[in-house]
């Protein structure tokens, strides 16, 4: 057999992305074979190579898409005006909402960095660094304005990022807590963590 009835390149590519995220999030990039992925999509292994030249290209596309979406999400959510307290609140809320909605791609991005080539790794890290810089600026602004108590801007930024990204490690919506409740509690903890005076 060859081309199948109703086959569509765009749909197939989207199906490959979906299946790849699911499988890689669950088993890890190295543990997922192209044959396993093809079977999940319902296609022969060779068909994957029409859309992604190599396995690593596929991983890289998933990861860049995730990072670009994160940066775009914050650009949209960032308040046009407001003091550091309002900015930090918006940052934490957006960060948690984004990552809870994208548990699987987040997991892939956090776990599979070491499977990228040097150049691609540094591209992803550059995107990440730009995003984290936004948080550092908010913290510095709040500290300068006397709104926050921050011993070390870089260290505090990493602590907050680790804390809020860690939500996806343990949190499953529709259990004991809703997303809104979790986001709200993390917001309060973050404000206390930076010693916010006007939260």
């Amino acid at each position: 057999m060859a081309r199948t009835a109703g086959s569509d390149g765009e749909r197939t590519q989207a199906a490959i992305r979906d299946a790849a995220v699911n499988l890689i999030a669950r088993y890890g990039y190295e543990a997922v074979s192209m044959r396993q992925l093809a079977a999940e999509v319902g296609v022969q292994p060779a068909a994957l190579y029409r859309y992604f030249p190599t396995k690593e290209d596929l991983l890289y596309e998933l990861m860049t898409a995730h990072m670009n979406a994160l940066v775009a999400s914050w650009e949209t959510a960032r308040p046009a005006s407001g003091n550091a307290t309002a900015l930090l609140a918006a940052f934490v809320r957006n960060h948690i909402d984004f990552h809870v909605e994208r548990r699987q791609t987040t997991h892939v991005n956090n776990m599979e960095l070491r499977s990228l080539s040097r150049d691609r790794l540094s591209t992803i890290l550059r995107l990440r660094a730009g995003y984290e810089k936004e948080l550092r600026q908010i913290l510095r602004q709040g500290a300068d304005a006397g709104l926050f108590t921050v011993e070390d801007v870089t260290l505090t930024a990493m602590a907050i990022i680790q804390m809020v990204t860690g939500v996806i490690v343990w949190f499953r919506p529709d259990e004991r807590l809703s997303v809104a409740e979790v986001t709200d509690t993390y917001h309060k903890m973050t404000m206390r963590l930076v010693g916010a005076r006007n939260a």
Copy 2:
């Protein structure tokens, strides 16, 4: 050739453990081959199987050793008496010191859970759960005593664990900050995070 001059089972086993931790922390369990590991140790692949029946047995031993050491470390460091504030301070300090000293095994334990079989995974998770329970008890005790502000004990425990374990992701000693400075700042942030009244 066969047995080599000066060969010693205990030394070889220790060398395998060391090399495995280094390689797995850097490249990931799935990406490290037994041949690569053997080459790092300076031995033929077959020699590894005298000490570890399978590749997964090796991983499991590394992970259980790490978790048992963590639990033992806290048992030693836990103050015999003291209120929740003192206990939480000791917990954070011990946790950070332990993990900074064992960056590589920590990385292996955090990243390679999915490469374990069901039974072994649940053994590791049980050890981890017991350790995290200690933190929850401290938080509950502090909240009950009116020393802490804690919206949700479980959620706060996970937030703190994620925050302090995240140290090893970005922190390298002998750079801008010393271990003591980092531990100190995390201690202060944790105390504010739980709204400690008497820190």
